[in-house]
Amino acid sequence: MSKTDATVDERIKETSKLRKALIRPELGAIVGTIAVFAFFIIFAGNSGMFNAQGVLNWSTVSAQFMIIAVGACMLMIAGEFDLSVGSMIGFAGMSIAIISVTLGWPIWVAILLTFALCIAIGALNGIIVVRTGLPSFIVTLAFLFILRGFTIFFPQLIERRTIIGGISEAAEGDWLAPLFGGKVGGGFFIWLGDLGVIEVFSRGTRAGQPVVDGIPMLIIWALGLVAIAHIILTRTQFGNWIFAAGGDAQAARYVGVPVNRVKIQMFMFTAFCACVFATCQVIEFGSAGADRGLLKEFEAIIAVVIGGALLTGGYGSVIGAALGALIFGVVQQGLFFAGVESSLFRVFLGVILLFAVILNTYIRRIITGER
C-alpha cells in the first residue's frame, strides 16, 4: 500500500458532480421552493399572482419572514432559540410609537432608542442564558410574556388604548424613516411602465403611473441581511465560531472560542432583526398595535428548519432559511390568489414542513456522518 503518498483515496467511490452539487444543507428548501412555485404557476397562474403587483405582494410578505428568519437562523446555529421575537416586534413598534407620537420626539430618535433598547434586551436574554445555563427556550419564553405584557400595559396606561396611530405624520420629512419605510427604484419602474412592461394606472389621481412605484426598503433589508449573514457565517472566523458554539460548546471553549460572547451577540442580532421588522411595519402601517408580531417566533423557526438548520444547533444555512421564508410568503399569499380557503395555508405549510425536514435529515446524515 502506498497510501501515504497517494493523493486520492482508493476507498471512496466516484461521486457524480450532480450528486455533489445536490448534497447541500439547503436542498430541502430548494426542492420545496420549486414545488411551491410549480404548484402556484399551475393553479394560480392567471390570477395576477405573477404580474408586477402580485410579485411585489408575495415578495414583501416573504421579505418580512426573511428578516426574522435570518436572526433566528444565526441564533439556532449558535445553539439557542429566541421565543420572544414576536413579542419583541410588538414591543419595538410600541416603543417607537410612544416615543415619537406620545412624547413627540423626532422619529429618528425614537427609532435609534428603540434599537438600543431591543438590542439591550436581546443581550439580557443572552446573558441570562449563558450565566444560568438554563435552556434558552425557557428564558426567552419568560421574555415572550414580559415583553407582550409591557406592550399592552404601557399604551393603555399612557393613551388608554392599545393602538397608537399618527406615525406616518411623525415620519414626514424625517431623515431616518425612509430607510425603513421608503421605496427605491421609482424611476426604473416609471420607465418600465412607459415601456409597457408593467401596467400603469388608467384612471384616478395616479393615472399614467406604474402600478408598482418602487421596491420597498423592507425587501432591501431582507436581501441585505441574508447576504451579509450568509457571508459572515460561511466565510469568516466569527462564522466558524457561531457553528462551533452550537455544535459543541465545551469543545469550542477548549480551543479558545469565546462561546458565551458569541451566543450573546447572536441574541442581540436576533433582537436587531426583530427591530428592523417592527420599524418597517410601523412606518408602513402608520400605527403600532399591542398584538403585532404574534406567533412570529414560530414562523421564523419553521422557516429556519425548512431551510435545513438543525434544531439542536451547529448546522444550518442562511440561504436555506431565506428560501424557507420565501416558501412561507408564497404559500400564504398564493392561496389567497388561488382563491383557496386560507385555513388550508396551515395544512399546506405543515405538509411542506414535514417533507422538507425529512429530506433535510437525510441529507444531513450524508454530510455529517451522523449515525
Binding site: D9, Q237, F243, V255, G314
Partner: protein, 260 residues
Amino acid sequence: MTTEPIIEMRNIEKHFGPVIALNGVSFDIRPGECHCLLGDNGAGKSTFIKTMAGVHKPTGGEILFGGQAMHFDSPRDAMEAGIATVYQDLAMIPLMSVTRNFWMGREPVRKVGPFKFLDFKTANDVTMSEMRKMGINLRSPQQAVGTLSGGERQTVAIARAVHFGAKVLILDEPTSALGVRQTANVLSTIDRVRKTGIGIVFITHNVRHAMAVGDRFTVLNRGKTLGTAARGEITPEALQDLMAGGQEMAALEGSLGGTV
C-alpha cells in the same frame, strides 16, 4: 538538569464543590523533555492538565510560566502563550469539517480591503499535509469530523496540537484509540517535536508507551503526587506497580497469569 522549566505548577489544588480532585500537585515541564503523567482512572490527571491549559482555575497553588506567576483566564490565553492540548474527549465538533475543526480558534484569514475572510486554501492545504505527516490520508479536508473513525479524529486533534504547540504540547491519552501504525507515528512525533525544544506532557495508561518516549515520570494517585522519577531511575514494573497501588496489582496479575 540545568534548564529552567517552561511551566512550573506548585501545590495545585482543585475542588469541584465537595470533590477534591487535586490536593496539592507539583509538576514542571522543561524545554525538550517528555514528561509522562501516569495514574489510575480518576486520579486527577485530566483535571490537572486542564488547569495547565487554562480550562480550570486552580482552587489553590501557583502556576509559573517562564518563571513568572501566571493566570490563564481562558484556554485562549494558554493557547496564546504557546500551550496546545489534545483533550481526552478530543474537543472536536462532529458536524463541522476537518479543516474548520483543525483551525478552530485560530483561523487563518485573508484581508480583502477592510474585511477579513477565512483563507480556505491555506487552511485546507496545511490540514491535509499535517494529517499526511501523521499517516492519515483524508478523503477531503471538507468532510465532517463526524464521518471520521475514532482514531482518525484523535489524529486530527493531535495534528492540530502539534501544529500549534509552540512551547508546550499536552497530550491526554492521545493513543487510546489508535492503530499500531498510528501509535508508532504519535510516539515518533513526540520524539521529533521534543527535539525541537518543545516540552511535552504525555498522559497514558500504557507503561510501554511511557517508557518508549518519557524522560521523566510523575505518578498521580487520588489527587496527590506519588513521586517523580527520571528515565533510568525506575523499571517498567516498578512504574506499573506505582500506578496501580502496588499490592493489589501483584495479586491481580497472579490471577491473570502475569499477562497484564
